[in-house]
Symmetry: D2
Subunit: 160 residues, 4 copies
C-alpha cells in the first residue's frame, strides 16, 4: 500500500471559467490513476491545495507530521515545483525509515499537454523500488533530496 | 544512457483518416518524452511497427539480437500487450546482465485518454533502478518476466 | 428545438481496448454539446451506429422516414463521410420543407485531434439559419446536397 | 474570403510554465482551423492579445477602424467574453454593411476541455450566412449585438 499526499501545485491547478483564472478544486489524482490503469493499492489524502510559493513552515510541519504518522512506508507527495526541494529537506530532517518521493508538474494536468501523468507514473514506480530516503522525481529522473535544485530559468530539475 | 526499442503495439497506433482505420506511422516516443520533459539521455530505435499478435519468432529473434548487441545495459521495449509476456520470455532466455523493461498501452497514445504516457514514465523509472533481469511494467507495477500474464478479459496484467 | 439523428461514422468511433480495435459504443454527442457549452435545445436520437460504407438502402429509408416524421423542422445528422452524399441525396428526394444538415468527422472525437467538435459547432449553426433544403457541413463550409463530393484522396469535401 | 481579427481573451490564453501563470503567446487560430480541416479562405490578423477586462476605448476604436478598413465583408473577432458585448456595441455604431461575428471561449483552447473549437466552427458558419450586422456567437447560438448579455454567475450568454 502506497500513501499519496496531495498538497496542490501546478499539478492540480484548474481553470475557473467564471473567474477566468487558475484555481484549485479537487485533486486530479484518482482520475489520473484510473487513466494510467494503475492497479497499485494507494490511499490518497489531500493535506492542502496551495501554490508552493505560499507554503509556510507550518504547512511543512503538517506534511512532515503526516509522513511520520501514516502507516505506509512508501509515500508520494504531489507538490508545487518552486519549493519542492525545501519540503524535501524538511522531510529528510523529520522522517526516517520511509521512502518518500515528491513529484509535481510544470503544466497543469487539466491542460492536454501536461507532464503530470508521466511524472505520476515515474514517482509511483520509483517509490516502490528505492531504498528509504527522500527523493524528488521530475524529468524522468530521481534525485536524492540534497542533490537537486530547480533551474528556474528553464524549468528543469538538475543535480547539484 | 538508456536504449529504447520500438516494436509498435497499441502504444503507437495512429488513425489513418483517409483509410478510416488504425495504422502505424512514426513512433510517438520522442514527442512523449518531450511532453514528459524527460531529461534522461535515451537512444530510440524503431525495430518494427506491428501489432504484437502478428509478431513471429523471427521478429522476436531480431529483438533479442538487438538487446544483446546494443551498448546500453538499460533497455526499454515498447510492445503490444497481447504477446508482451512471450517476448519477455525470449529475452530472458537470450540476454544476460541487462535490465530490460517492456511496456505498452491499452489505448493508443494518439487518443487523449491513453495510459501510454503514464506507462512510459513508469518504465523509464523502473529501468534505472531495477537489477539486471527482464520485466514487464504495466498498471503502475513491475513484474518479473516469469511471474506475469495479461488477463484478456479485463485488460490488466496480473501476477502469477 | 433541433433534432439530432446519430447514425455512427468516424465521429463516434471509439477504441475497444479489450479487442484492440475501433468500435462503436454510445454516441459522444451529449458530451460534445456540454463541452461546447451549447444552450440550444436539442433532442438526440441514435438511429444506428455503423460505418457509412456498410449503410444499406434500408438504413437510408429509415433515416428518411425519421426525418419525415419528427416534429422538428431543423435536423442535424451525424454520418460517416464516405457515403454522406448518398444519404443527402436520399433525403433530398424524400423530405421537403425542412432544413437538414449532415456532418461527420475525419478523426474520431475520442482522439484528441478530432475535427468533430468544430464540425458539430458548424452544423449546429448552419441548421439554425439556412433555408429548407439538404446540406452537407464539412470543412467549415455548407454544400447543397447536389453540389458536393468527398475527395477520397485528400479527405476534403469539394464543390462540384 | 473571411477576415479573422484576434484580440486575445480566454480563447488564446496559454500557460507560462516558467512563471506558473496564464499568459498570451501567439494565437491558436491557425492550428484550430487546421484541426477543424477548414477549407474556408481566411486572413488572420492579431490586433492585440489582451484580457477583455483590460480593453480600453482606444483598443475598441482600433478594432472598429480595422473592421471599417478591411476589404472583406465577413469578419470574425475572437474576444474575451467579459466585455464582448461592449465591443459589439462599438462595432454596431461604427461599421455598416458588414457581417461581424464575435466569439470567444470560457476555457482556454490549450486546455483539453475547451469550448473554443466548437465556438470557432459556429462563428465561421454563422458569418457566412447571416445578413450584415453585428452578432455574438456563443453557446451554439447567435445573438444580435443589442439583444445579449453575459450572465456572469453561470458563464452563459443569454438573450435580453
Amino acid at each position: 500500500m502506497i500513501c499519496i499526499f496531495v498538497t496542490g501545485g501546478t499539478f492540480d491547478k484548474a481553470y475557473d471559467e467564471i473567474q477566468g483564472k487558475l484555481s484549485f478544486g479537487d485533486t486530479h489524482l484518482p482520475e489520473m490513476l484510473r487513466l494510467g490503469r494503475s492497479h497499485v493499492e494507494v490511499s490518497i489524502r489531500t493535506l492542502m491545495m496551495i501554490d508552493s510559493l505560499e507554503m509556510t513552515d507550518v504547512d511543512r510541519a503538517l506534511i512532515v507530521r503526516n509522513c511520520q504518522q501514516c502507516h505506509e512506508s512508501c509515500i508520494i507527495i504531489t507538490h508545487g515545483t518552486d519549493t519542492m526541494v525545501d519540503t524535501a529537506a524538511a522531510l529528510a530532517r523529520g522522517v526516517a525509515g520511509k521512502t518518500i518521493v515528491l513529484t509535481g508538474a510544470m503544466i497543469p494536468y487539466a491542460f492536454g499537454s501536461s507532464d503530470g501523468l508521466f511524472n505520476l507514473g515515474s514517482a509511483l514506480s520509483f517509490v516502490q523500488v528505492l531504498p528509504p530516503g527522500v527523493y524528488v522525481a521530475m524529468n524522468g529522473t530521481h534525485f536524492p533530496w540534497n542533490q537537486v535544485r530547480k533551474n528556474r530559468s528553464d524549468g528543469f530539475f538538475e543535480r547539484i
